[in-house]
């Protein structure tokens, strides 16, 4: 009996704190394609980071990854018996730059899948694509455009990052919906409206946490932002 109760949770379908796509949601052929794209972009991200990385940024990358892992554990309530949690891609990219941020997000998602059984191992191909690539790089592109529109990164860092963070959640969930539709798991239009609908609200949480974290860094250690600027200047 005791043994049975210990083994009972094993093999159960998702329950408890589960946040990323499990195996079975996305078709295997699509996952193969996504894995190939992921690995190609990741290789490029490693090369870019390698070329421009300031050695002092290594612990900063580590702390950012650890913080995103921890913050993703905090599921905040949104309307209608639903919760959401941080993605963190725009937060990481605004502080570290887009390529180190992609590596940081990959490390977080890989550890979640391999050690915490959060998100399937094969499905990691989709989770990486949606969050480490589409959410992070797409969100960062929006961040750069907004920062320029608002009068420069130093002046408009926080509002630009907040809006881009909200958009990054929609981008990531939109990609997830497309994959669900292509896989035939559910109707594409149904998946898109449902995913974008829910994540419109979850994105507000993303915007608030991203703004708060960047605001905290700006107040306490604004010089950390210069670390990234110094690297990108050196790389030009």
């Amino acid at each position: 009996m005791v043994l049975a109760s210990i083994l009972a949770p094993l093999g159960d379908a998702p329950g408890g704190l589960q946040m990323h796509a499990p195996d079975g949601f996305i078709s295997v052929p699509l996952l193969v394609v996504l894995w190939v794209i992921d690995l190609a972009i990741l290789a490029y991200a490693v090369r870019q980071t390698n070329r421009t990385m300031d050695e002092r940024a290594i612990p900063l990358m580590g702390v950012m990854a650890a913080f995103i892992f921890a913050a993703q554990m905090f599921n905040f309530q949104v309307a209608g018996g639903t919760s959401g949690h941080l993605l963190g891609g725009v937060l990481a990219a605004a502080l570290l730059g887009p390529w180190p941020a992609t590596i940081v997000m990959t490390a977080v998602l890989a550890v979640q899948a391999l050690i915490f059984q959060d998100g399937g191992i094969l499905a990691l191909g989709a989770n990486l694509f949606n969050m480490a690539i589409v959410g992070t790089l797409g969100g960062y592109a929006i961040y750069r455009v907004l920062a320029r529109l608002f009068g420069g990164e130093n002046r408009a860092r926080i509002p630009a990052a907040a809006i881009a963070a909200w958009a990054s959640v929609l981008l990531g969930s939109g990609a997830m919906a497309l994959e669900l539709g292509i896989s035939g798991t559910t109707d594409l239009a149904v998946a898109l409206t449902a995913m974008l609908g829910v994540h419109t609200f979850i994105g507000i949480g993303e915007a608030l946490i991203t703004a708060a974290a960047l605001g905290f860094i700006q107040l306490t250690r604004a010089d950390l932002f210069k670390l990234r600027d110094a690297r990108s200047r050196a790389s030009v």
Partner: protein, 132 residues
Amino acid sequence: MNETIGKQPVSQSVEPPVEPQGAPPVEPSAQGARGLISRYWWVVGLLITVVVVIFAAAFASSDPDGLERVAEDKGFLDAAQGSSYEIIPGYTVPGIDGTVSTIIAGIIGVAIVFAVVFVLGRIMARRRAGRA
């Protein structure tokens, strides 16, 4: 008059270590407590992260998240396949119950994620140095 003059140096010497804000950029030459904080600021960062873990373990909503909600509503949650192995499933350490289990799981995760990225960064930096 005498009192304020006498007290000022005391309060000044106490203040800097208490206040980590505005510490100078990472400078190996930085001295004293401020220097320690600016050199080992990442330890402060990790401590903040542990606070986030405790907060998350205590206050996180147990409602399904965005994707799980949609999967449930649209009837494809059953398509989910469980993992073929489990190490720390559901952010709870097997054999330990409740919030404490989630806190321990979170701290283990924070340590692993930090170590993975830190070691990766070191390897990359070393390879770059080797090429240069």
